[in-house]
Structures are given as C-alpha cells and as structure tokens.
Amino acid sequence: MNPLQKVAAIILCMILVLIVLATILVPTPYARQFRDVPNAGPSIAHPLGTDALGRDFLSRLLYGTRVSLLLAPAAALLSTVIAASLGSAAGFLGGWFESIVLAATDLSLALPWLFLLLTVRAMLPLDVPPMASVIIAFLIMGLLGWQASVRVICATARGVRDSDFLLLARSSGCKPARLLLRHVAPNLRPLFYAQFWISIPLFILTEANLSILGLGVMEPMPSWGNLLRGFEDFPALAAAPWRLVPLILLVTVVMCFQLVLPSQEVTQ
C-alpha cells in the first residue's frame, strides 16, 4: 500500500466512524422539521444549517452517508457475485454456454436502463416502508449492474482455461466443477475484488442519479442522491457554500475508493 492509498484508507475509516457514531454526534432526528428556520445558515443548533423544510443538514448528511455507504457495497457485492458466477463459468466452459451468456450480456447492455428502472420501480408494491424501499432500490441496482464485469471476467477466465496448470489438473481426472471452484476461481479472485471496488462508486453515483430523478431513496430518508438535489438551485448554492459538503463528501469517497483499489498490475 503506497502512502496515498494509506491516506485514502484513513479517510474512508474516518467517514465510517462518523456514520456509525451519527446518533451520538448529531442527536437531532434527520426527519424533524424546524419549520421556523427553513434554509437557515450554519449555527450552533444546526452546524451545517437547515434544508428547505427546516431539517438539520448535518444530521441528514451523516444518515444519508450511512445509507449510501452501507448499501452501495452490498449492491456491489451482489452484482460481483452474479458477474463472477456467470463470467467465470462462461469463460471456463466456453462453447454454446459462453455464447449465450455473452449474448445475454450484450442484450442487457443495450437496454435503456433508466426506463427499465422506471418500469421496475413502477411495478413494485407501494406500501413499503422507506427503509425497505431503500433496500429494494439497491437490490435492483445490484441485480441489474453485473454486465460490464461479466465480459471482463469471462475474457480472463478464457485465458485461464487454456493454461498449463489447468491442463494438468484436467489430465489428472479433475471434474469440471472442481476445476472451476478450486483452480479457475482462485486465479480470478483479484479480478473479483477489483470489480467489486469499481462497482461501489458506480452504485453510489447511480443512486444519486436516481434520487435526482425522484426514483431512489424516498423522503424523509436521506441519501447522498436526494441531498444533491439541492444543487438544482445553483445561484442559491453560491450564497450558501456549506451546501456543497455532500458533493465534496461524494467526490472524496469515490476518489478514496478508487485510490484504495489495487492497481491493475497488482490485480493481474
């Protein structure tokens, strides 16, 4: 780990500590509206001011960070597991199975994802509590976000398939399932990790985009996405620069994740 990676890791750890201790650090509930002070500037009671409905901005930021940072890795894990299973099996087995998996991947990459997400969201039941809607939103993202990784993993698995050590294992009577689990998958593990780390910022940004469209995390639950919606009023933002904190945090976290990520040479 180089010094820059260490700094990034420390920043990520600090943010993690902050969101875990959010309840202690900011006793104000994130949904409580102080209607006498909407759009207020920083004060002792509200260190980062209040939003348009008078809710404490710091509290919403910390809880929003918690939601985005806990669920994005979960979605990334889900999508990586799907991509790892399909990609490594397709690359290892080859033939018609590989063709079908790659064709399905190409097909799903060609789909208009925004409209698909809109449709999926519209088909879901309405009477779900906010936390459940958050989990559903990330679950959908996880289930639908595996395609790019599949192609990379499949290509690498194809290379492993023709390697000498696999030929040796096959000639010594190893069954295909064992070959895949004990010989192919461990060789692809660095790639799985890389895909997982790459996916996290991707899902954070996807959630932010969906929330800007009003389709991500539902009010009153905060997330980075719905905190970033305040950026629509750019002139107001110039007058209240402390509102930029969610954006700074998002950029910092995404950068830290990218820095912490092992470099391509190492993963290969």
Partner: protein, 549 residues
C-alpha cells in the same frame, strides 16, 4: 455663408435620412415579442385544441364572438357587437360587426359563424371545444337571417352559454387558407417544427385603441418551442425572451432576487393542489384501509391535521394560499365566501378520530381492530413541491399517530394506477383550472365521471352526498339563471368541505415574468397570465431586459 450652411444641412439630412426613417418607423412599430411554448402545438385548427401550446396559438390568432376579460372576469364584445340568450339557455342570437375581413382578406359574414358552429358540433370532428356545448342529443340549428346576424339553437339549455364562445375561434367558410385565415390580432406566418412559430400582425384586425390607432401594436411574436424550464429561465435572464407566462414559486424566487421588476405575482390563481384517498370498491386496497378512507371523520381529521399555512409558506415560499375547496377565491363570482375556513388543529383532529373509534396510544394511531393507521401517498416524480408537501404532511400526521409513506412514480405509471388499476392508497396531485364556470368541473363532481378520482365511473352514486352532488351539478348545468346556478354550486362547495373527498391543500399564485421592456403588461390570475392583453403590448426602450427590438 447661408447658402453653404444650407448645403451642409441638406447633405447631412441626406446622410441621416435612412436613420431618421428607421427611427420614425421604430417609434410606430411595436417590435417583436419573444417567448417560449413548452411543447409543440398539436394543431392549428382552433376547434381541435386540447393542450397549452395550441391554446396559446389559438388565443393569439383566433377571433372570437365574445371575449372573457382576464382581469375583470367580465364578458366583452368581440366579433359580435351584442348577443342575447333566450329560450331558457337554448338559443343565442348574435349581432356581428360588419365590414371585417380575415387575415387573408376574405370578408367576414354570418356564414362563417354558421360554418364554424356546424364544424364545431360535427360528431366526426371530436372537437374538445365542441364538447362543452353538447347539452343533449339532437342537432344544433344555426340560422343566418342576414350577413350580420346569427342565431344558434341548441337541443337543450346550455349553462353559461355565452362564456363558452370565448373558446370558439371563427373559421372562414370560403378562404382557401382554411384555418390559417384568422380574425385574431396575429396570424401564423411561419412554423418550423421543433424550433419556432412566427406570428405576424393581422393588418385586417378589427380592434382599435382609444385614439383610433389599429391594434395590435406588436409587429410580430416569435414563439420558441422550449420544453426545458431551466433553459427558458436562462433565456429570460439573458434577455432572449420577453416573458414567461407561468412561473413556479422556486423559479420566481430565484428571478426575483436578480430582477424584482420582472417578476409578477398576481395572487391566488385557479390551480389547486390536493390529496385524496382511494375509495374505489374494487381497488386492491386492504379492507381495513378502505374503511378508513371511506370514513368522513377520518378524512376530516386528516384535513384538520395538515398545516396548510406551513405548506404555503415553506414549500411555495409564500406564493400560495391555503385552499379549502374546489373553487379558488380568485374566481370572484363562483367562490362560496360563506364557508368557514377550517383551522389547523391536530388536537381537534385527534378528538374526531377518537370519536370515530380510533385509538391513540404511545404516539401511534390504531383503528378499532388494532391495526396501525399507515398509508402511502403517491405523487409524480420530479415534482419537488409535491414531494415536499408530502414530506411535510408526513410530519403533520405523525403528530396524530398516522404514519405516511411517500412513493414517487413517473407520470404514466401514476396515471395508470389512478385511472385503470386503482392500485394505490392516496394520491397528491394538482388541478390546472382554466375555466371559471362550474360546468368545467362536471367531469370531476359527477359520480359517473372519469375524473371523480376518489371513486370514478360509478354506475350509481355510492353515497347519499355523492347523489346530491350529481343532482346539484346537473341542476346548475340545466339552468341559465346565474343566481340559481350559484346557489347550487355553493351547496356543492359546502358538501365538498363537509365530506373532504378531495383534501384541498393550496391554491398556487399565478406568477409570471415579464421584461420591463414590455410596455402595457398587466398580469392576471386567469390564463394567459402575462399576455392576455397582447393587443396593447409593445416593446419599449428599456435595454436592460428582454430581446432586442
């Protein structure tokens, strides 16, 4: 010396002549007004208009027999000098202005009115404007006793008959240009789909100002097709367009900070925002919840527990007024001012719920069977003010122990749920109202109507009060006595206030932005807010805002 001075003067005059001429013509010219349409007009046929963009073109180009003054809300003579309604609202006789011509020079006579009325009432045409005139089965008879007299006889009385003619732009019976020959202040000179519509002054327009000068003052109007409101605002800031007809509170506040002189708040408009509960018997809603939604006490308690003043102040920045009924106070004649204004009172709401059998324990409200009172409100995604309203309602209702969830859906999905599948519990939406007359709300209050949202398309009224609403609406629609109609409509408003099928939240203010360069503007609460008096608008010399003359 004198001769030399004269020569120099003459030479100077010759040099300056083009500039003097242009300056003179500029002082007579009204310039070109620029503003945006928020969509492509679907038609230029004034009888087929059903959306905002086409309506704007119709308003600017169409000549009508009777015009509703958007400021005084009174009817004024247009192409008809006078009119008389008789036979209990079945018959209307017009005396037309003589010597008028369409924009292409075709003479205007009673034949044109007869032609327009026949086309309007033709069932094959499916004219949305014509639907308002359909009172009963049977033919509409149009008589033309002379070139300046027309009599229209309907099969049954039509309530508010003369007001409906404000929407009927007269077509030419003989012009080869068909609907492009107009009697309004402007005509369509150029249309580039997806880009703009250019309207030029109709030199044959009949109206003159007090000094006898022909109207309109403006030479032309350029309507740029622009769906994106942020871009529209940006263009206004840059001075590329002169006005924004409808402005949201958020945009209004942004603009007011920069150029207070350009923003206009005409006060409460006709548009309302409201919440309703799904009471459709066949809807896939839990039976316990349906029982709450059908309870008048429950709906009234929810209504009482919502702090409308806070909604107006916080969500709309004070550019809205708490609403309590289907008619805005902006509608001077039809608003029932005798209704008492209910106050925000969560304690009274809780008492009402307790009387209705609900229990409030530990900050949670439960019904008599012990089910926690919780429901989901849907609204359209991307509408920030509606999302904020629901979020505020969440906190208001949590004080009486009700848990509210918010789900935003894209508009087609939302419409699908509220009109076809009925798979929702409560919905928050708005109603854009452009007509003052209660007849325009027939499709809302009749129990058989499609827009009777809480329980639409009923074969027979589900409740006694809905039966009374039906009777009152039909009664007011079948009489021409404004006094009788007002009494019926007042009673409708009273029933709605008592039963709260729609929980009205706010009436948004009618806000617009008009460049100080536009002379003669006087924004109204009725649409079109910013250019209802387009005939007398012209561009002044203020270079600070607005497109260059």
């Amino acid at each position: 010396m004198m001769r030399r001075a004269c020569i120099v003067f003459a030479f100077a005059l010759v040099l300056c002549w083009p500039f003097l001429v242009s300056a003179e013509s500029a002082s007579q010219s009204g310039g070109e007004l620029h503003f945006c349409l928020r969509g492509e007009p679907k038609t230029f046929n004034p009888l087929l208009v059903e959306e905002d963009a086409s309506e704007t073109v119709r308003y600017l180009t169409g000549g009508v027999l009777i015009r509703l003054n958007r400021q005084t809300q009174a009817l004024e003579p247009g192409l008809a000098v006078s009119w008389k309604v008789s036979e209990e609202g079945r018959k209307i006789s017009f005396r037309l202005r003589s010597g008028l011509h369409f924009s292409d020079g075709t003479p205007f006579t009673s034949e044109d009115v007869a032609y327009t009325m026949k086309a309007l009432m033709d069932p094959q045409l499916h004219s949305p404007t014509g639907d308002s005139f359909r009172s009963d089965e049977g033919q509409v008879i149009v008589q033309t006793p002379s070139t300046d007299a027309v009599v229209v006889i309907f099969p049954a009385p039509v309530a508010g008959l003369e007001r409906l003619f404000d929407q009927v732009a007269i077509l030419s019976a003989h012009s080869p240009k068909k609907e492009m020959a107009v009697l309004g202040p402007f005509y369509v000179a150029d249309y580039a789909p997806g880009s703009h519509i250019l309207l030029r002054r109709n030199t044959n327009y009949w109206k003159k100002d007090k000094e006898g000068k022909p109207l309109p003052y403006l030479d032309s109007i350029r309507l740029d097709i622009q769906r994106n409101r942020d871009v529209e605002l940006l263009r206004f800031r840059r001075g590329e367009i002169h006005l924004i007809n409808v402005l949201d509170a958020e945009y209004f506040d942004r603009l007011q900070k920069e150029t207070p002189a350009a923003t206009h708040d005409a006060g409460p408009g006709l548009d309302s925002e409201f919440l309703w509960f799904n009471q459709v018997p066949t809807a896939p809603v839990a039976e316990t919840k349906r029982a709450w939604f059908r309870s008048t006490e429950f709906r009234k308690a929810v209504s009482m527990a919502i702090n409308r003043a806070d909604l107006s102040r916080i969500v709309f920045g004070g550019h809205a007024q708490p609403a309590f009924g289907p008619v805005s106070p902006a509608n001077h004649f039809w608003f029932n001012s005798s209704l008492s204004v209910p106050q925000y009172d969560s304690a009274a709401a809780l008492r009402l719920l307790t009387q209705a059998g609900f229990r409030h324990e530990g900050g949670t409200l439960s019904d008599s069977s012990g089910n926690r009172v919780e429901f989901t409100v849907i609204t359209n995604s991307g509408n920030k003010s509606r999302e904020q309203m629901v979020t505020m309602i969440q906190q208001d209702l949590s004080q009486i122990g009700i848990k509210v969830n918010l789900v935003t859906l894209d508009f087609p999905s939302l419409i699908e749920r509220i009109t076809r599948t009925y798979d929702y519990e409560a919905c928050l939406l708005g109603l854009v109202n452009t007509d003052l007359d209660p007849n325009s709300q027939m499709n809302v209050w009749l129990s058989s109507a499609e827009n009777h949202q809480w329980n639409p398309k009923q074969s027979k009224p589900a409740t006694v009060w809905e039966a009374e609403l039906d009777r009152l609406m039909l009664s007011q629609a079948s009489t021409i006595s404004d006094k009788k109609r007002k009494a019926d409509w007042d009673r409708v408003q009273q029933i709605v206030a008592e039963q709260q099928p729609f929980i009205y939240l706010v009436n948004k203010h009618a806000m617009s932005a008009i460049s100080p360069a536009v002379v003669g503007s006087s924004p109204s609460v009725l649409d079109p807010h910013a250019f209802w008096n387009v005939e007398i608008l012209c561009l002044g010399s203020d270079p600070s805002m607005g497109a260059k003359k």
